[in-house]
């Protein structure tokens, strides 16, 4: 039944409606072996709902999910044996000790007794929990808890891993450690689908899928997204007063988009060379002092803001 040629994760026109609300609207996607696919989007965009449908935890309203070569709707149990899932909310047992949680999930995932010891120590090493085996899970710091949760989700060495905001509420150092773990597993051929709303984390992914209002608005590697998704060039403008400059630039026809970033403005124009002198003139005529105006490389956040504002405008129009 398993077809090794097909991608480990395939979504075809996946739709999920809750009453009138369309949480996921015809999502199509494929993830390859060893790929780390990041689902990026604001809260409520439909990231978690998509992941839950792919894991067989939610029944799709329409469409098909094929994971590890099995149709999730028809053979959820085959799928569950081959995937690891880590939910948004910490969902191990706080009143169990670390080792008890590990043994519990190892049994549920049918880890054979012959390799149990080896897997236990592998997970303890990976999560950095050696010496904490008999600590009550509830008393661990949140970064450690997340690593343990990841460990428990991969005890059966799944070929596909679904992580739903695995690093929310975790300090930056623990987050980096966590992503190193993910990359180690991906290097071993594990397909990882991960949701996040941290822009800096998105850079760790091989491929990003931007989800907004239940739809995929863009996808590609972080580099591709930064180059391709934005038409035109991005200018950094430092000036005084900022509010006045914002008003002026919004009324200038050749400016496609203006957004405030810290104490500066990010301005999207079709052509940087031609625009810089014209914008300088327009601003100084209105009494704005420009201290800096130069082309910059867009960050993922720029891409994200640009794409979602475009979509938002479409939605309204």
């Amino acid at each position: 039944m398993t077809n090794h040629d097909t991608a480990p994760v395939i979504a075809r026109d996946l739709v999920k409606r809750f009453g009138d609300f369309v949480a996921v609207d015809r999502i199509n996607l494929e993830a390859q072996r060893g790929e780390v696919v990041g689902f990026l989007g604001p809260n409520g965009a439909g990231k978690s709902t998509t992941i839950r449908m792919l894991c067989g935890l939610l029944r799709p309203t329409a469409g098909q999910a094929i994971v590890a070569g099995y149709d999730v709707a028809r053979e959820p149990e085959y799928v569950r044996q081959r995937i690891g899932y880590m939910s948004q909310k910490f969902s191990l047992y706080n009143d169990l000790r670390v080792i008890e949680n590990i043994r519990f999930f190892a049994s549920l995932y049918d880890v054979p007794a012959s390799v149990l010891k080896e897997r236990e120590s592998w997970v303890l090493d990976m999560a950095g929990l050696n010496g904490r085996e008999s600590t009550l899970t509830g008393t661990l710091p949140s970064g450690w808890k997340q690593r343990l949760a990841l460990g428990c989700a991969v005890l059966h060495r799944p070929s596909i891993l679904f992580l739903d905001e695995p690093t929310s509420g975790v300090d930056p150092i623990s987050r980096r450690q966590f992503w190193e773990l993910i990359h180690t597993m991906a290097a071993e051929g594990v397909t990882v689908l991960v949701t996040t709303h941290y822009m800096d984390e998105a850079e760790y992914c091989n491929r990003l899928v931007l989800i907004f209002q239940g739809r995929i608005v863009a996808s590609g590697s972080p580099a591709e997204l930064k180059q391709g998704a934005m038409t035109g060039a991005l200018l950094l403008v430092e000036c005084e007063p900022l509010g006045m400059a914002l008003d002026v630039l919004q009324q200038t026809p050749e400016v496609a988009d203006v957004a405030v970033f810290g104490n500066a403005l990010h301005v999207v124009v079709p052509d940087a060379k031609a625009a810089i002198p014209r914008l300088r003139t327009a601003l100084s005529q209105q009494g704005v002092t420009v201290t800096k105006m130069e082309p910059i490389r867009p960050s993922l956040e720029d891409v994200f803001v640009s794409l979602t504002t475009a979509q938002g405008a479409l939605g309204k129009g």
Binding site: R59, K89, S91, L92, D95, S107
Partner: protein
């Protein structure tokens, strides 16, 4: 069903119970408290009814008559007053249930052969106690009449008064007519119903509430493994609690146990399966511990208390209510447990009730396996 997954669930449940103080208290303290509260608190025997007396004559004869009231355990003469208003006040205040007024010409009228009327004022707020007071008072007066008659006849030089008919009473099964013997086995049934359904009503709801269910259903564990794995530990706990209650009934409350332990064990097993599965179904549907435990208590405790024959005999209920009692599993178990304790009834005589319990057990376990789905919302 795979043994390693099943045993993992059971082990996990036992660890969680052993680390949860409220659960431990419910398991250990609740049966003890309920046994004591019901065992001592629920009594149908009416004794020591408080009595006030207004003796308007105060003669040797009237005092002699009043002694008959004092001599029985049913009445307790609290006070003698010397005016009518004090008597009325005592009834109003609830200081007595029965007030007796002896007329001023009592001894004279008795001597001449009456009629003498002794007034009995009865507080009939509690109709049951009032009825009992009336019949006991009449009995006391009958006896006193006989004494007077005998004396009168003897004085006339007549032979003994003839009373050829006597009743030869043998009370079976509960020789001392003590309501404890009837109530305490019933209390065991009620405690099993309450504890069994209460504990299991929390198990699935707790997983939803704490968010652990999401991880659990993403694993290959089957709904059957989850149910059996969760119910077996509570079944063992339920049996231990039953043994504790039965032990208290026998050695603390001195209720005779005349039946076979095997019959007792079989019926307890069936009844536990019924209440545990019921609690589990409620837990699956409710998804919150508070709602689940309340529904479970209402669904088991009230029917077990009111409609099982525990307090009110089923054959005294209106026909319609009698029909409803057939849907209450506790009704069958109540019959079995009382019969096993007091009558020592063996299986052939309990077949109908055991069969009914078995049907309920089967139906509810099937319902419990069907109720749970490995899906969110």
């Amino acid at each position: 069903m795979r043994w390693h997954r099943l045993s993992a669930i059971m082990r996990k449940e036992i660890i969680q119970i052993s680390r949860d103080l409220p659960s431990l208290l419910i398991i250990v303290a609740m049966p003890l408290l309920l046994m004591l509260a019901f065992g001592y608190g629920v009594r149908f025997d009416i004794q020591h009814i408080p009595v006030y007396v207004y003796d308007r004559e105060g003669s040797q004869q009237s005092q002699d008559f009043l002694k008959h009231f004092q001599a029985t355990d049913y009445f307790h003469v609290v006070k003698t007053v010397d005016n009518y208003p004090a008597l009325i006040h005592a009834l109003d205040a609830g200081a007595c249930r029965l007030a007796i007024v002896i007329p001023s010409d009592f001894s004279e009228q008795v001597k001449t052969g009456g009629p003498v009327s002794v007034q009995a004022l009865i507080d009939a707020t509690d109709n049951n106690t009032a009825n009992v007071s009336i019949s006991y008072s009449e009995a006391v007066i009958q006896t006193y009449n006989r004494t007077i008659q005998l004396e009168w006849l003897r004085r006339q030089g007549q032979a003994e008064l003839q009373s050829p008919l006597t009743v030869d009473i043998r009370t079976w099964f509960n020789e001392d007519l003590e309501s404890t013997a009837n109530i305490v086995p019933g209390v065991v049934a009620i405690i099993m119903a309450v504890i069994g359904s209460f504990l299991t009503s929390l198990t699935i709801a707790r997983e939803w509430e704490r968010g652990t269910m999401e991880q659990l259903i993403s694993t290959p564990v089957t709904p059957m493994e989850l149910m059996v794995g969760k119910l077996v530990p509570y079944f063992v706990i339920g049996l231990l609690d039953t043994a504790l209650c039965a032990g208290m009934a026998i050695w603390w409350f001195d209720v005779p146990f005349r039946g076979q332990w095997s019959v007792f064990f079989l019926s307890c097993t069936l009844f536990l399966i019924v209440v545990l599965s019921l609690g589990y179904c409620v837990s699956v549907v409710a998804k919150s511990q508070l709602a689940a435990s309340q529904v479970a208590l209402i669904a088991t405790f009230l029917p077990a208390f009111l409609l099982s024959g525990f307090i009110y005999p089923i054959d005294q209920m209106p026909a319609f209510i009698q029909l409803i009692t057939h849907l209450i599993p506790a009704r069958y178990f109540m019959t079995i447990i009382r019969d096993v304790f007091l009558k020592g009834t063996s299986i052939p005589f309990l077949l109908d009730d055991l069969l009914a319990l078995a049907i309920f057990a089967l139906f509810l376990t099937i319902l419990a396996t069907r109720a749970f789905h490995k899906k969110l919302s």
